[in-house]
């Protein structure tokens, strides 16, 4: 609360205290520098300063990363708000016989974290490179793969931040077979998977199911999605 025509006395007191703390800190550092110089330990003092600088840089880096994470969360929250508002508008609209069908199902709360699928050595190639800036709403990954232990690939999928996108297998790759020879358990090693690419950074993993039993990661990387400005 401020006094008429003046600063709140509590604020003034806090400012004075802060000023005092800063002054004491400065005096302490001056004294420390003098002591180091008196002892002829200039380099030791520089070393300490370098350490302090490195710690500050680390803190700044962590703060920047936190800021980015927070920004993404805000963007996600904004998208959710927009989606809910659209649902609300649709619900409030006069309902004809088809009125309710206009309401989209509520977005799921998001997949629960899934344990990371272990990797395995694969011979593979991706016709549509996953190494790109993703500019559209979705992307179709096409390629071929088989495990080096020769087991059959019985399914493929993409794991994007824990959300799974199943793909299609059994696509002919005659040029691959001509080069590497026929693969007894993977005669048609081609596959394709379409997955969504919402804005932001995502953990991407291309995974294959082997012999109908276990899933193994073919490759994983981080992808960056930044839709074109409209």
């Amino acid at each position: 609360m401020s006094t008429p025509g003046g600063t709140d006395p509590r604020v003034a007191a806090l400012e004075a205290e802060l000023h005092g703390v800063k002054r004491r800190e400065a005096e302490y550092r001056v004294k420390m520098v003098k002591e180091f110089l008196d002892r002829g330990e200039r380099n030791t003092f520089l070393h300490i300063l370098q350490h302090e600088r490195a710690a500050l840089i680390r803190r700044e880096q962590e703060a920047s990363a936190d800021l980015e994470i927070l920004t993404r969360k805000i963007e996600e929250a904004e998208a959710r708000v927009a989606s809910l508002e659209a649902e609300l508008q649709a619900a409030r609209a006069p309902k004809g016989s088809w009125g309710m069908t206009a309401i989209k199902p509520a977005a799921s709360a998001g997949p629960a974290p899934r344990p990371m699928v272990p990797g395995a050595p694969f011979t593979y190639y991706l016709h549509t490179s996953p190494f790109r800036i993703y500019r559209d709403q979705a992307f179709t990954l096409r390629g071929w793969a088989w495990p080096e232990d020769g087991r059959p690939v019985t399914a493929v999928r993409v794991d994007l931040d824990g959300k799974l996108y199943p793909g299609r297998i059994g696509i002919d790759e005659p040029e691959v077979v001509a080069r590497y020879g026929a693969q007894a358990h993977n005669p048609k090693p081609g596959f394709e998977i379409t997955f969504e690419t919402p804005a932001g950074r995502h953990a991407f993993s291309l995974e294959a199911q082997l012999a109908g039993v276990e899933w193994r990661s073919v490759m994983r990387t981080t992808i960056w999605c930044e839709p074109r400005a409209r």
Binding site: Q61, E68, L126, S129, R201, I223
Partner: protein, 242 residues
């Protein structure tokens, strides 16, 4: 044939320049084996030496253009991610670009633990895949020696485009007037004329690198003689760049 046609015939003739400028083919071939890939882009195969040389590169970047924890950084020709792995720990986001998808496969495996990294495959010489005004730092190290001069300049021009106003650029190469540079030159000299590989190392001069940066529009252009015998040119994109 008339003499007057000669000028036209000479202008339109297409003499093959070997595979040197077919960078995708050359570097996909180098990337087929993980160790060969590491050797081709870094001269070493063991992780400890890769880490050590990467630290050296990061020190060079810090001493010439500076690295800030809030920087979004692009490497042109990142190969297996030798520099990106440690550098991503010191910046906000590191983007590695390379013309070889095979190299990027190795890089993806090495960078799997680094969430603030992105890999981008380049279709050809240039950075068409990347948006303008997006990066604080663009650097290209141990790459120019494998490129023809026009392609070196193309990457400098493209670095200018993708940098934000005020962004910093770093490129390097070896030069023949240092002991290290002369050693690299003599290693290439030892090849038989008809056995020279497409990726053979070719030097730059200080004037060449400086000219590329000045012509591309950079300001505050400097050429540095580095401790490891390389030369580097650095510049800053003007704040008022269009």
């Amino acid at each position: 044939m008339s003499g007057s046609d000669a000028q036209e015939r000479w202008r339109t003739s297409r003499a093959p320049l070997g595979d040197r400028s077919n960078y995708k083919k050359v570097w996909e071939a180098q990337s087929e084996d993980g160790d060969v890939a590491a050797l081709a882009v870094a001269g070493h195969t063991d992780e400890a030496t890769l880490e050590l040389t990467a630290r050296g590169t990061i020190d060079m970047l810090k001493s010439t253009i500076g690295i800030d924890p809030s920087d979004v950084i692009l490497e042109i020709g990142c190969g297996i991610g030798r520099v990106g792995l440690p550098l991503s720990k010191e910046c906000l986001h590191w983007v590695g670009s390379d013309i070889s998808s095979g190299m990027l496969k190795h890089a993806a495996a090495r960078l799997a633990s680094r969430p603030n990294t992105t890999l981008v495959e380049l279709a050809s010489v240039g950075l068409l895949e990347l948006p303008a005004d997006s990066f604080d730092v663009v650097y290209c190290t141990i790459v120019f020696m494998h490129l023809l001069e026009w392609d070196r300049f193309r990457y400098v021009e493209e670095a200018f485009r993708v940098l934000r106003p005020g962004g910093r650029c770093y490129v390097d190469n070896f030069t023949v007037d240092t002991e290290t540079g002369w050693k690299i030159f003599m290693e290439s000299y030892a090849y038989l004329i008809d056995r020279r590989p497409a990726h053979i190392s070719m030097s730059s001069s200080r004037e060449e690198l400086r000219t590329y940066l000045v012509r591309a529009g950079f300001e505050d252009v400097k050429v540095h003689d580095l401790a490891n015998g390389l030369i580097a040119a650095t510049g800053r994109k003007p704040e008022s760049a269009p």
